[in-house]
């Protein structure tokens, strides 16, 4: 494997990342994967096998809406965008995530200092 520094995403994080990317404007699946890869500076490579089920799940939960539009290459692609509900959900989840990472980071920092 060429990305030695890849790691597994905690459960539920992928949904958050997808919604964050989709929040920027209508976008198709391939571009979502690309964008996450870019934004994570190649640290995260989303597999198709996780991406599409997640997209479909979010669409089913009505957090995303989808429509067929022509892509930059002229082919028809399925574009996703956030629904109002999705936007609210993203906001709440982002807050949650920030609080969680803050708290976890706090604890981990303490432990590491205590050990070393």
């Amino acid at each position: 494997m060429k990305h030695e520094d890849r790691f597994d995403l905690p459960q539920g994080t992928l949904d958050l990342l997808i919604m964050r990317v989709v929040a920027l404007g209508p976008i198709h699946g391939y571009a979502i994967a690309q964008r996450i890869q870019q934004m994570s500076r190649e640290a995260l490579q989303v597999q198709q096998g996780s991406l599409y089920p997640a997209l479909h799940r979010l669409e089913y939960k009505k957090l995303l809406a989808a429509s067929w539009q022509s892509s930059e290459t002229g082919r028809e692609a399925k574009f996703y965008e956030l629904t109002a509900r999705g936007r609210a959900h993203l906001k709440a989840e982002t807050e949650n995530w920030k609080r969680l990472t803050g708290v976890v980071g706090l604890i981990l920092k303490g432990t590491v200092e205590g050990i070393s």
């Binding site: 391939y30 096998g49 599409y52 997640a54 799940r57 892509s71």
Partner: protein, 914 residues
């Protein structure tokens, strides 16, 4: 999009999913190509990165939510396709299920209809009957247990007056009709017909909360002394005999020659207060009983004839009510003549009644059939067990043999849970179909059972169509079977690791049938042996019962039942009638003997009385009695062993004589010479009544009523002589004959027509109530035994067949699994015969294990059916040998087919099999 809409838009969604993923794929390839990778290489890399595209699709579908239903349909479709692909398996499973479930629901239909059925009346749960036994007819005997269920008119009035806890209390005759009722509608061109009538109190229909289909029901004024005779007709009689003609209500009908007004029609489906093979066509007020059938007992406080049923007021304590009713009865009995005897006085304090639920009506039919129906249910349940074992085995075999298929599928990315679910659904499809077929079988089966059990029934209120309850029962059964036995192989198959299973598919020798599979076959063999033994015992019991020496002769004898009272004859007019009958019948060519009697041997009838020999102490014993004409003994084939039979000189006013049977002599006279002794009833109020009849002859013990009635003491009186000493003004109903027995020199064709014409030539009102050959009448008495015997044989063979299929299945499976091994053996020089031997030995071993379990179980279980067998108390060697032989033969047949197939394996081809 709605959930259902999604389902229907499935095709479009599938297309879109495909398009979306394809877009991703192509874009990724395009990006790589733009990055300088050659297109073919780019495609290869992308494909690698993508992994299983079908797996992704599956996961997408899974996350969409319609998964459950969508895959259910898919699984069902797939299941059906699989079944079509292996029709042998499908047909076997379906037949097994259909027969197993069908047999059970057929029996359950009958049980439901007879044992669990409530009367079709308002609120049957609040009906309470006074009494819990089914004593019949008319009795003035006290009993030792003190439990009474039959009551006199006087007791009924007393209960009605004193038991205010009852909202209403009705009385109903314990005997239906008291012999057939001859009914003719008034008017020209009407014919007299023999019908069933019954006598009830005036509030009968009110107690049941019924409303008439037409006209009105009785009011209390209709059921009073001197009231004009009225009658309510059953709905079935109204539809069938009078096509629902509304003018029937209000019109006059002659009942046994007495004019009666039909005031109303009972509601549809009402069959009276008990299940009977011939429910009453006419309900009459009980006060009309004496006028219509001559019922002196109606006003006699000693004569008990009625059942009492009513509705208690809400909140009544039943134990307190029972104690009160018992006390009242004791009080009343204390003053009766029939309790004057010192021994009766001693039994008097024990007098009591038991209140029983009346919602199902009088339970006489239920009591009679309960044991047999329960037995049949047990047997059917055992058959179902065998069937389930069979299905379990078949599903196991199938699950195993499809291991490779499942491995491939899970290697291709099918979820394990999906495979389990699919297998489960397949078995549910199977059991659902099996349940449907079973329902069809049970529908036909219940009809056949009913015809078998009650061949004489007429409008019997037992519906053979499966009720909702039965349908539910059948489906629950089939689903449980399917799920239970679909689950085991499904789990087993799903547990296999794909790679392992794919690898182990080739040449191994250890994989025969599993212990579970063999265990199931052994269980089946054991159960079928038990059922075969039961079948053998019941068959033997039937042949023993039918073969019993009944001391009669039925060859070329026919019996015509008649009703002279219904034809309008008075008690004083019957003597010349009988003379005419005997004369006219003798002039029919071929007729040898003509006997006229009250009833005949092996007929569902019995008249009995207390007997006291003059000069002896009262033994408080009863004997049955029959009145007959001189040729009667010859006509039924009873031999006179001592003294004489009756002669033409034993007329109405001649010296009262009697003939007794040998058992009578044994019980009442011991070693004394019976000829010349006198006997009669013991009536303390009328001294000397114990010398009413002088014994002039002794006959052998011809079987009357039933072969189960052993030591049946009987006496015979000349038809027209009075029975006992009669009080003046008490007309003797026993002078009315019920049957003509005709012996002919050969089988006379069309005898029934000749008899009917002869009777009509004597009096047009004299019709045949029932005509049968003597042999038919005897055969009818074995209907129940025959039904049980046939059904146990049927179920035994069914179980045997299923067990054979099971054994065949397991053996065939073993052979398939061992094809390669057998091929090697044969390549190394094994004989065909030794291969056959090996395979059959394996199969027979299971059969023997089944026998080892089945034989002791069968021997042990006989105790539970002993009471239903005729003079058989244990398994005898003959039955056991036949059962074991049949089972061994079936096992041999079931295993020889796969064994021969094994022996015909071509070593070269077997070795090539992967």
């Amino acid at each position: 999009m709605s959930w259902l809409g999604r389902l229907f838009a499935r095709k479009r969604l599938e297309m879109e999913l495909d398009k979306e993923l394809r877009f991703h794929f192509e874009t990724q390839v395009a990006d790589k190509v733009r990055g300088g990778v050659p297109e073919s290489e780019a495609r290869r890399l992308t494909r690698l990165e993508f992994g299983g595209i079908d797996q992704i699709k599956e996961d997408c579908r899974e996350s969409r939510g319609t998964m459950g239903l969508e895959s259910t349909l898919q699984d069902l479709r797939y299941g059906l396709r699989q079944l079509r692909r292996s029709p042998g398996f499908a047909v076997t499973v379906l037949l097994t299920l259909a027969l197993g479930i069908g047999a059970n629901s057929a029996i359950f239909t009958l049980v439901n209809a007879i044992l669990l059925h409530s009367l079709p009346v308002t609120d049957p749960k609040t009906l309470i009957r006074i009494g819990d036994k089914n004593d019949c007819c008319i009795s003035d005997q006290w009993n030792d247990t003190g439990d009474y269920s039959l009551f006199s008119t006087e007791t009924y009035s007393m209960f009605r007056k004193s038991l205010s806890e009852f909202e209403e209390l009705a009385a109903t005759a314990s005997f239906y009709g008291g012999g057939p009722l001859t009914v003719r509608r008034a008017g020209p061109d009407t014919v007299a017909k023999s019908m069933v009538g019954t006598f009830v109190s005036g509030n009968y229909f009110r107690v049941f909360g019924l409303s008439p289909a037409a006209g009105r029901f009785f009011v209390d004024a209709d059921d009073q002394k001197g009231a004009p005779i009225t009658a309510v007709m059953s709905y079935d009689a109204w539809r069938q005999d009078y096509a629902g003609d509304p003018s029937v209500v209000g019109s006059t009908f002659y009942m046994n020659g007495k004019p009666a007004t039909i005031i109303g029609i009972a509601p549809k489906g009402f069959y009276g207060d008990r299940i009977d093979t011939n429910p009453p066509n006419y309900f009459l007020p009980m006060h009309a009983m004496d006028a219509v059938i001559g019922a002196a007992f109606f006003t006699d406080p000693d004569k008990r004839w009625a059942y009492i049923i009513g509705r208690v007021k809400p909140g009544t304590s039943l134990p307190a009510l029972q104690a009160k009713a018992s006390g009242l009865l004791r009080q009343q009995f204390a003053g009766l003549n029939s309790f004057a005897d010192p021994r009766a006085q001693k039994a008097l304090p024990r007098t009591h009644v038991v209140l029983s639920p009346g919602g199902a009506g009088i339970q006489s039919m239920q009591a009679g059939y309960k044991d047999h129906l329960k037995l049949l249910q047990w047997i059917a349940a055992l058959v179902l067990l065998v069937a389930c074992a069979n299905i379990a085995n078949l599903l196991l075999v199938r699950g195993m043999s499809r291991r490779a298929e499942f491995s491939v599928r899970s290697a291709l990315g099918a979820q394990r849970s999906r495979i389990v679910r699919q297998l489960l659904r397949e078995s549910v499809v199977l059991s659902g179909l099996g349940g449907l077929l079973g329902l069809a079988v049970s529908y036909l089966g219940a009809h056949a059972l009913l015809a078998l059990a009650f061949p004489d029934q007429h409008n019997m209120p037992v519906i053979a169509s499966p009720s909702a309850r039965v349908i539910g029962f059948a489906f629950a059964l089939s689903l449980v079977t399917g799920v239970l036995f679909g689950l085991a192989p499904a789990l087993m198959a799903a547990r296999t690791r794909p790679a392992e299973a794919l690898r182990s598919n080739s040449r191994t020798i250890a994989h025969g049938a599993s212990f579970l599979q063999r265990g199931l076959v052994v269980l089946q063999a054991a159960l079928s042996l038990v059922l075969l033994v039961a079948a053998g015992l019941f068959a033997q019991s039937l042949s023993k019962a039918e073969g019993v020496n009944m001391k009669l002769d039925s060859t070329n004898r026919s019996i015509a039942h008649i009703n002279p009272q219904g034809a309008g004859y008075k008690t004083t007019e019957v003597e010349p009638l009988y003379q005419t009958i005997v004369e006219r019948f003798h002039s029919i060519p071929g007729v040898l003997k003509v006997g006229v009697s009250t009833y005949t041997p092996m007929e569902a009838n019995d008249w009995n009385s207390g007997v006291k020999v003059q000069g002896d102490p009262d033994l408080n014993k009863t004997a049955s009695w029959v009145k007959c004409t001189p040729e009667y003994f010859d006509a039924v084939g009873t031999h006179v062993v001592r003294g004489r039979g009756f002669t033409l000189q034993d007329t109405m006013n001649a010296l009262p004589v009697a003939v007794v049977n040998q058992e009578f002599v044994r019980q009442f006279l011991g070693n004394r010479n019976p000829i010349g002794h006198r006997f009669g009833f013991d009536d303390p109020l009328h001294p000397g009544t114990d010398g009413a009849h002088e014994i002039v002859g002794v006959v052998e013990d011809t079987t009357y009523t039933s072969i189960y009635w052993k030591n049946h003491a009987m006496y015979f009186l000349p038809l027209t002589q009075p029975a006992g000493m009669r009080a003046p003004g008490d007309p003797d109903q026993s002078v009315y004959a019920g049957a003509i027995v005709i012996e002919t020199s050969h089988a006379v064709p069309g005898l029934e027509k000749i008899v009917a014409d002869t009777l009509a030539s004597i009096n047009p009102n004299l019709n045949i109530v029932k005509f049968q050959t003597f042999q038919q009448q005897i055969n009818d008495r074995f209907t129940e035994e025959r039904m049980i015997s046939r059904l146990t044989s049927l179920f035994g063979l069914l179980a045997l067949l299923l067990a054979a299929i099971g054994l065949y299945g397991v053996t065939a499976y073993t052979v398939v699994r061992r094809t390669a091994e057998i091929g090697i053996r044969m390549a190394l020089g094994a004989e065909r015969s030794s291969v056959i031997g090996t395979v059959m030995r394996g199969a027979m071993l299971q059969a023997v294990a089944g026998l080892a379990i089945g034989i002791p179980v069968a021997i042990f279980c006989v105790r539970y059916v002993k009471s239903q067998l005729y003079e058989i108390t244990s398994v005898n060697l003959q039955v056991m040998i036949i059962a074991v032989g049949v089972l061994a033969l079936a096992a041999a047949l079931a295993s020889i087919i796969p064994a021969r197939r094994a022996a015909s394996i071509d070593p070269v081809r077997a070795l090539r099999i992967e």
